[in-house]
């Protein structure tokens, strides 16, 4: 979670003091250090995992890598539009690269977010519990709710809204 010196993340970090996320992109994908790391990993024969990378970083990594990559735990964004999941472009690129995608049976990444009414309901629950409207998955940042009763209320409300229980990510 969060951008680092190597790459941008598919889940920008939430800065509690600012009550907002960090910038959407820090490097525009991979940094110079990240590009060097990909080359070094190829040299060492390491398997590169693109799960958690931003879309730009993922596509750059696939283009750069001499070896197939894997997504160790990512799902399909077209079915569940959370930022951690893979776009069709990324999925096709991994396929052409000879890579593998391990689908994660993690409820938060499997919510069908295609229904506008559901998106509205999720937004209402989040804003009603003082969480940012933006999220990579509906439960995200529940841990930032300091009051335990309010946190429980959020979890129960989101469970009722999405039908999903899983909390960690």
């Amino acid at each position: 979670m969060g951008h680092n010196d190597f790459s941008d993340s598919s889940r920008p970090l939430y800065i509690a003091e600012k009550k907002d996320y960090e910038v959407a992109e820090e490097h525009g994908g991979l940094s110079e250090l990240g590009i060097t790391a990909i080359r070094r990993l190829n040299t060492l024969g390491a398997l590169i995992d693109i799960s958690q990378m931003s879309k730009a970083a993922t596509l750059q990594t696939i283009k750069l890598s001499d070896a197939p990559v894997i997504a160790s735990h990512s799902n399909v964004r077209a079915l569940s539009n959370v930022s951690r999941n893979l776009s069709d472009e990324e999925i096709d690129a991994i396929g052409k690269n000879g890579g593998v995608i391990h689908v994660a049976s993690f409820g938060a990444y499997l919510v069908d977010l295609s229904d506008p009414a559901l998106l509205t309901a999720i937004k209402k629950v989040r804003l009603g519990h003082d969480l940012p409207e933006a999220y990579s998955y509906p439960y995200e940042l529940y841990w930032e709710i300091p009051d335990l009763k309010k946190r429980t209320s959020f979890l129960m409300s989101m469970r009722a809204t999405t039908g999903q229980v899983r909390l960690t990510g």
């Binding site: 010196d5 398997l47 894997i70 735990h73 994660a104 049976s105 841990w143």
Partner: protein, 172 residues
Amino acid sequence: MTQKTGSEIYDKLKKAMLPALGILLASCMPQQQAPQSVPSASVETQVEKAQRVHEDVLVLDAHADIVLPETSKTYLASDGLSKVHPDKLRAGKVDAVVMAIAVDPGPRTKGGDAAAKAEANAKLAKALKIANLNEDIVIETDATEIRAATSTGKNRPHPRFSKCPSAGWQCQ
């Protein structure tokens, strides 16, 4: 701890663990349950087929978080144990798990780098400890070793790490 022969060990479920710079979830999958309203014959056939495939392939969980004492309980299963506790891997017949030496986000400073390195080393030590405490778990670092360690019928010497897997690793 009783010393087991190679064949005895390989009669048990074989597993390999790969410390990795990355993140898994097969063990988090809900248990297969036949829907009660569906005729049992066809469902059982599907379940049997799934079980056969499960037995035939090398079942690999590509990403598992390593749980430290200070890890948030939200990362644990409802029984309070790791989602990839060895007993669960045996029960689920999981052959291999990539244990993620992943660190939490932190300040990109010397202090932050030191804290991240300490966390990474603690997770590596935990992975090594799991292997050391379980006769049927080994740590492997390449695909050939994993296939060898998980293939039945081969009395390959049980590779155990009595020292660091490679130079530069900090092990305990």
